[in-house]
């Protein structure tokens, strides 16, 4: 879960990392300002500045207008639900620091660069000597002396070294305490008086750890916190509703495509495999989906009906990997029922049915009864996809 800038900054505040004075402004609020301010659209995505999501204002009227403008903008697919107003700070130098996981090395990674305010991945590619990366452990954390070692490698010394190391060590604390997967301050500014200040902050929390952070869980539940442009289609929303009919298995992650061949495929890896294969054989999928975990007959039936209700879709391909938990007979029953309830003929509607594995004999009996050809385990996913593509074109 990606936190908004203002949410991340409230956490930094708790750890006494210096921040510009700022607050959220509500739409239509009468603003009073005496010094220039930065107005920052609160959206959960990077590249905000380049997209026009950060504006400067010098007086109240100007600020008011710009707040309204930001709240109506579409920035990288998001319509900001709030604007964060901060005092404008002039800085002498900008730094980058961040903590994340190196998923290959399986270790937390601290990153520091004396060049801030830039895309760090780009910088790391073009001038790797300017980006210092070092692993640390969850058990030993990142004590200040380790942080000092990292920052000192970039040639920084004196009072600045002490200040930067202290902030780097602190964000590693935040990272571990909050079960974050990313904590990044970019840029961290050096002011004329020698103090450091966090101008922006990007924080992501592990979705699987939100359960042990009541404050983050509360944020996640806030209605209208973010609004994305990527709305689910009506078809996808109805599919999600079907998945919620009961708790038995999943018939989810339905994504709409514009083809003519309905797909009931699963599980995760096999769905990716089957979708690619159908396309490579010239088939045109009407949807993507992942079923698995032994879904109920009801869910499979409803999903079948939904897919067949799409205009132009009169064939369905059913492909899964060799199943061990999901029962072939229950999927077969759900699909046949769904087709019959849609007023169609199962044998003519099924472009291919290829699910070998648990309870396959019972499943094959159902298919035979309706004259549906049986594709057993000797027919590969790829071959099944070829048959489906042929039968749907």
């Amino acid at each position: 879960m990606r936190l908004l800038e203002h949410e991340s900054k409230r956490i930094l505040e708790k750890y006494r990392i210096p921040l510009p004075v700022g607050r959220l402004v509500s739409p239509g609020e009468l603003l009073k300002i005496d010094t220039p301010v930065m107005l920052k659209a609160q959206i959960p995505v990077g590249g905000r500045g380049k997209a026009g999501g950060i504006l400067e204002a010098s007086d109240a009227e100007d600020a008011q207008q710009k707040v309204s403008l930001l709240l109506q903008s579409n920035l990288r697919g998001y319509i900001p639900k709030s604007v964060y107003m901060e005092e404008k700070k002039t800085v002498r130098q900008e730094f980058f620091m961040g903590v994340t996981y190196d998923t290959v090395a399986k270790a937390p990674l601290a990153i520091f660069s004396p060049v801030g305010g830039v895309d760090i991945e780009e910088l790391a590619q073009q001038q790797p000597e300017l980006v210092r990366k070092e692993h640390f452990t969850v058990a030993s954390r990142l004590p200040v002396h380790r942080a000092r070692e990292i920052v000192a490698e970039t040639g920084i010394s004196g009072k600045l070294l002490l200040g930067l190391s202290s902030v780097l060590s602190t964000i590693a604390e935040v990272f571990l305490d909050y079960d974050a997967t990313v904590v990044e301050i970019n840029p961290l500014g050096l002011m004329d008086d020698g103090r450091l200040i966090a101008l922006d902050c990007h924080m992501e929390i592990d979705d699987d750890a939100v359960f042990r952070h009541a404050d983050i869980a509360a944020l996640e539940k806030e209605i209208g916190r973010v609004e994305g442009e990527k709305h689910m289609s009506d078809f996808e929303r109805r599919a999600a509703g079907i998945d919620n009919l009961d708790h038995r298995g999943v018939a989810g992650r339905v994504i709409e495509f514009d083809g003519n061949l309905g797909l009931i495929i699963g599980g995760g890896g096999a769905s990716l495999t089957a979708f690619d294969a159908i396309r490579s054989h010239g088939g045109r999928p009407a949807n993507y989906c992942e079923i698995g975990g032994n879904p109920s007959v009801l869910k499979v039936k409803e999903l079948t009906r939904l897919i067949l209700s799409k205009p132009g879709v009169d064939k369905i391909a059913v492909i899964m990997n060799v199943v061990s938990n999901t029962r072939v007979d229950l999927v077969a029953r759900g699909i046949v029922k769904g087709i019959l309830e849609s007023g169609k003929n199962p044998a003519r509607t099924i472009a291919v049915f290829r699910i070998p594995g648990a309870w396959e004999e019972e499943g094959f009996k159902i298919l035979s009864k309706y004259g549906i050809p049986i594709q057993g385990r000797t027919i590969s996913i790829d071959e099944a996809a070829r048959i489906a593509a042929k039968n749907s074109n």
């Binding site: 996981y101 079960d179 699987d208 990716l272 495999t273 690619d276 071959e383």
Partner: protein, 297 residues
């Protein structure tokens, strides 16, 4: 020969009284796995399919020495269960549980490293060395496992549990057997990824070729390609990369937690390019896997 575990490996099941664990414990026993004890704190003294249940790993191992643990407990309890196993000398932990907080995973992997123990998972269906042992729930009931898997010279490592069985099945139907088949787990951080497992297959005299099943997301395939290029591993590798259509859908999560293209990172295009550069065979279609494997047998 098999890597990681064989017919002599003695196994405990942590969380054995849970619904899922009860079921796969039976499947493991039926397949011939030497399950010696189970652990569920508070349920010591019970038994599951004739396997005695203990309150602690220490008590269980005192009566029934074992090398491996299969762990299936709720996400919040996984870290404690793995640490308990490692501290009591378990050298192979297969973590079946899903939705384990990433920090917890890293933390028990740090301990495993110090203790020289190996972890498979989290979020894995487990592993099978056909005809010898099966740890976890890969392949389902023993009768189904016997249909899909058979002993032989091909190693499998897969980011998808279901596709581990599917690949084994593809090979078996063409008369090609497998040495060890591992679902590495669907999380971004897993105890043993391709980089860790390929060298084990490389050293195994009976594994002649390895099949990898990959998905979009992460950089493990890119890193593996670098390893193959610098260390000149001699074992032939066949890579199948599913989800090519996902390249055009950044930000959308598919199947497993790790299956997501972020910006330009994790695309199948870059993985395929890197594999080719490193001399890893890319199977264009799923059926190609068997055809390429045959060249090395």
């Amino acid at each position: 020969m098999a890597i990681l575990a064989d017919e002599h490996t003695r196994v405990i099941v942590q969380g054995i009284t849970g619904r899922e664990a009860t079921s796969f414990t039976k499947d493991m026993i039926d397949y011939g796995t030497r399950v010696v004890a189970g652990i569920t704190p508070g349920k010591g003294g019970q038994s599951v399919h004739g396997i005695p249940v203990y309150d602690t790993v220490r008590q269980a191992l005192r009566e029934h020495p074992a090398e491996a643990a299969v762990i299936s407990v709720p996400p919040a309890l996984v870290k404690g269960a793995v640490l308990e196993a490692l501290e009591n000398g378990i050298t192979l932990a297969v973590v079946v549980s899903e939705r384990v907080p990433r920090k917890d995973t890293i933390e028990f992997l740090e301990v495993a490293k110090v203790r020289n123990a190996r972890v498979i998972g989290p979020n894995t269906l487990g592993l099978i060395s056909p005809g010898k042992v099966r740890l976890g729930m890969a392949g389902g009931p023993a009768a189904d496992v016997r249909k899909a898997y058979m002993p032989g010279p091909v190693g499998i490592a897969s980011r998808s549990g279901g596709m581990t069985t599917e690949i084994a099945n593809l090979l078996t139907t063409q008369g090609i057997g497998q040495s060890t088949c591992i679902g590495i787990g669907g999380d971004p951080v897993v105890g043993s990824n391709f980089l860790d497992l390929i060298p084990l297959f490389d050293r195994d005299p009976e594994t002649k070729v390895v099949v990898l099943f990959s998905e979009p997301g992460g950089v493990i395939e890119e890193k593996l390609s670098e390893l193959v290029m610098t260390q000149k591993l001699s074992i032939p590798i066949i890579g199948f990369i599913a989800g090519r259509f996902v390249d055009n859908m950044p930000g959308v999560r598919f199947g497993h937690a790790a299956t997501i293209v972020e910006g330009n990172r994790g695309t199948t295009k870059s993985k395929i390019e890197m594999f080719r550069k490193a001399g890893i065979h890319v199977a264009e279609s799923f059926s190609d896997i068997a055809d390429i494997a045959k060249r090395y047998l």
